[in-house]
């Protein structure tokens, strides 16, 4: 039985979530404040945390920072639509994903499942990824599309690797820049825009109806291909 910790100050929403998640055979543990949530996360075996960013008192971001001092448990933050900046801060502070309020429970469950699938992170990642006619050989750093080799620059390849090895996970601009360009970078999201566009072109993806790379405007990118891994 998977245990899910809900840290949310609004009692009616907690009640609705308890019912909705409970009916899906998830065990629900509830906390109404950041402090209570931290205590429960430390005391219980918890597989996923749903964390409201707009908590009174100790806010969600502070709670997340404290939580990350002692736990790597996947965290999905619940945010309001006008808290774009908070979303990015939470993801950079170690949140795994976010859901915008008000949300459909199905959407929340999909995010919870995706997060659970990703963890625990396998020690050795896949050596090759196949999606339709696209084959990415991570070991030999080689990409084929419809049997033809795709020529990628070093930076493009590094960006693709980072995305592919974090399937489904939302990677923020800052994370990608530091990972691909180096620790001195972090605010140059225009670089990313250019390189993502080139990658999409070379891999035959379309920004309007993406099958490989999904843009989360103002936040980051996600590798969404439903691929085969080996």
């Amino acid at each position: 039985l998977t245990t899910i910790l809900i840290v949310e100050d609004d009692a009616p929403l907690r009640r609705a979530l308890r019912m909705a998640l409970g009916a899906r055979d998830l065990q629900v543990v509830e906390a109404s404040s950041g402090e209570e949530g931290l205590a429960l996360a430390a005391a219980r075996q918890v597989e996923v945390v749903l964390l409201d960013l707009g908590l009174p008192g100790m806010d969600g971001l502070k709670t997340l920072t404290e939580l990350r001092r002692f736990s790597e448990v996947p965290v999905i933050v619940l945010t309001a639509r006008d808290q774009q900046h908070d979303k990015v801060s939470a993801l950079d502070a170690g949140a795994d994903d976010y859901v915008t309020k008000p949300f459909d429970v199905e959407e929340l469950l999909a995010r919870v499942r995706a997060t659970l699938r990703r963890s625990p992170t396998p020690k050795s990642g896949p050596t090759s990824v196949r999606h339709g006619e696209l084959v990415i050989d991570l070991e030999n750093r080689h990409v084929m599309l419809a049997g033809m080799p795709v020529h990628l620059t070093k930076t493009e390849l590094s960006l693709l690797e980072t995305l592919v090895t974090n399937p489904g996970k939302l990677l923020t601009h800052e994370y990608l820049l530091k990972r691909v360009w180096g620790p001195a970078y972090g605010t140059e999201s225009n670089y990313l825009r250019v390189y993502i566009r080139q990658l999409r072109q070379k891999l035959g993806d379309d920004a309007a109806g993406p099958r490989l790379i999904l843009t989360e405007p103002g936040i980051g990118y996600r590798w969404i291909a439903d691929d085969e891994r080996s």
Partner: protein, 468 residues
């Protein structure tokens, strides 16, 4: 001008004649000799010099004549027998003139020092008042009066930017002969009195105007800084208000969508009591949203000035009871007690507005009162008014905050933004005021907050104004 100069000359001459004449009379009566007479007459010259150099010189001349005529042999004539007496007379005249000049000069210096001090005091006083933030109009009037006084002006007008002050004969200020001194945004127009400004006076005037201009600049900078501070505070509280309103509107929506989407996708898998609980959530949260929307719309209507109460006789216990029934879902953990006299006369109020007032006050109390505590709604008659109190045993409200909680932007603690408090009380005050009443806040005996309002009793409200 000539007339006045003539008048001062006449006064000088008169003083010199009187002093020397009186002295001579006394000396003659005392039968004084030449030496004593010369010394005493010198004293008369010194005294005359205190009046002015001219007066001193006249006294010296008259003193010489008096010495010669009355005390130098042959007396009774202006003739002089001995050469030594001639020399003595000349020495007397020269000494008297020199002493007179020195004394007059000293006196002028003393007078100037006194004036400089007055000028300096005036400057310090006026500039300080400007810098302290007094109204430029007031300081301009004081400045005009002070300058008129200092320089014996006929009229004076002082402008600090748009502020303006007058002293003296205003009509003369349109004369083309007026003097204008302008530094920065300070302009002084003056019409001179009897005397022209000396070079020194002009320097003093310029320095005074320059000091005022500098002070006025500083005054304006401070006003601008204060305005900027106020604008920043207002925009910050507006932003806080907006974020509280959007948070409040979104919170019930999150529960509604979560409950509704669960019901839609899991209809078969849910136990009846779970379905019941989710449906309760839907209804409760929809009502919460409705109350919030009513408040937000109410506030915009109040702001637009579209509040027109239609007073009718309304029973307070009915209104309180209705509010308790509507908020029952929120009040599961509280005890609510109604303490309203059965024979309480009805109030003359708009019933719809009164419902909103009761709902907002009760929701506010439920929000702050700890679970399990008692909330009391009481009402009584005092004179022509009906007083209603909603008392809780929550944390209470500090004295200093008791007026501010009715301000639409104010939330007393960080938790308050969760249920729309801060908006609700602002609406209460607006609605109560529209119904010719008053809303306030006091301490509950034994601790906690009591929000109270009074509205006119029905029989009073329905009489025309002035009949009671």
């Amino acid at each position: 001008v000539r007339a006045s100069v003539g008048r001062t000359l006449a006064v000088d001459a008169l003083l010199a004649v009187v002093l020397v004449g009186a002295t001579t009379g006394i000396l003659e009566a005392a039968d004084a000799d030449l030496t004593a007479a010369a010394l005493v007459l010198l004293l008369a010259v010194v005294i005359s010099s205190l009046r002015s150099v001219r007066c001193g010189a006249l006294a010296a001349a008259l003193g010489y004549l008096s010495c010669n005529f009355f005390f130098t042999p042959p007396t009774g004539t202006l003739e002089v027998d001995r050469a030594s007496d001639l020399v003595a007379g000349a020495v007397f005249l020269v000494t008297a003139v020199i002493i007179g000049a020195v004394v007059a000069r000293l006196d002028t210096l003393r007078e100037q020092a006194v004036r400089r001090e007055r000028e300096a005091q005036t400057r310090v006083e006026l500039t300080t008042r400007l810098i302290r933030g007094e109204s430029p109009n007031d300081v301009a009037s004081s400045s005009a009066a002070a300058m008129t006084n200092l320089f014996s002006l006929r009229a004076c007008r002082v402008r600090f930017g748009d502020a303006i002050g007058f002293a003296g004969d205003r009509a003369r200020l349109e004369d083309t002969s007026r003097t204008i001194v302008r530094v920065g945004d300070v302009e002084v127009d003056l019409v001179l009195g009897a005397l022209a400004l000396s070079g020194a006076d002009r320097a003093v005037l310029d320095a005074l105007v320059a000091a005022l201009a500098a002070a006025f600049d500083q005054h304006r900078l401070e006003i601008e800084a204060r305005d900027a501070r106020i604008r920043a505070e207002v925009s910050q509280s507006r932003a806080g208000f907006l974020s509280a309103v959007s948070h409040n509107l979104r919170t019930p929506l999150a529960s509604i969508k979560a409950a509704a989407s669960t019901l839609r996708s899991l209809d078969v898998g849910l136990k009846p009591e779970e379905r019941r609980e989710l449906s309760d959530t839907l209804v409760d949260e929809t009502e919460r949203l409705e109350r919030l929307v009513t408040n937000v719309l109410g506030l915009s209507r109040i702001r637009a000035g579209g509040l027109e109460p239609r007073p009718e006789a309304a029973d307070m216990s009915d209104l309180a009871g209705a509010a308790v029934r509507r908020l029952r879902p929120l009040a599961r953990a509280h005890r609510i007690r109604l303490a309203i006299d059965e024979d309480l006369p009805p109030a003359g109020v708009d019933v719809g507005m009164m419902e909103q007032i009761f709902l907002n006050l009760l929701e506010n109390a439920l929000h702050y009162a700890p679970p399990g505590s008692e909330i009391t709604i009481s009402a009584r008659r005092t004179g022509d008014m009906i007083e209603v109190r909603v008392s809780d045993h929550g944390p209470g409200i500090p004295c200093a905050e008791r007026e501010r909680i009715f301000d639409e932007f104010v939330r007393v603690d960080a938790r308050a933004d969760r249920a729309g408090a801060g908006l609700g009380l602002a609406i209460v005050r607006a609605l109560v005021t529209a119904n010719r009443g008053r809303a306030w806040c006091e301490e509950t005996p034994g601790g906690g907050a009591t929000l109270a309002f009074s509205v006119p009793a029905a029989n009073v409200a329905q009489q025309p104004e002035g009949v009671r």
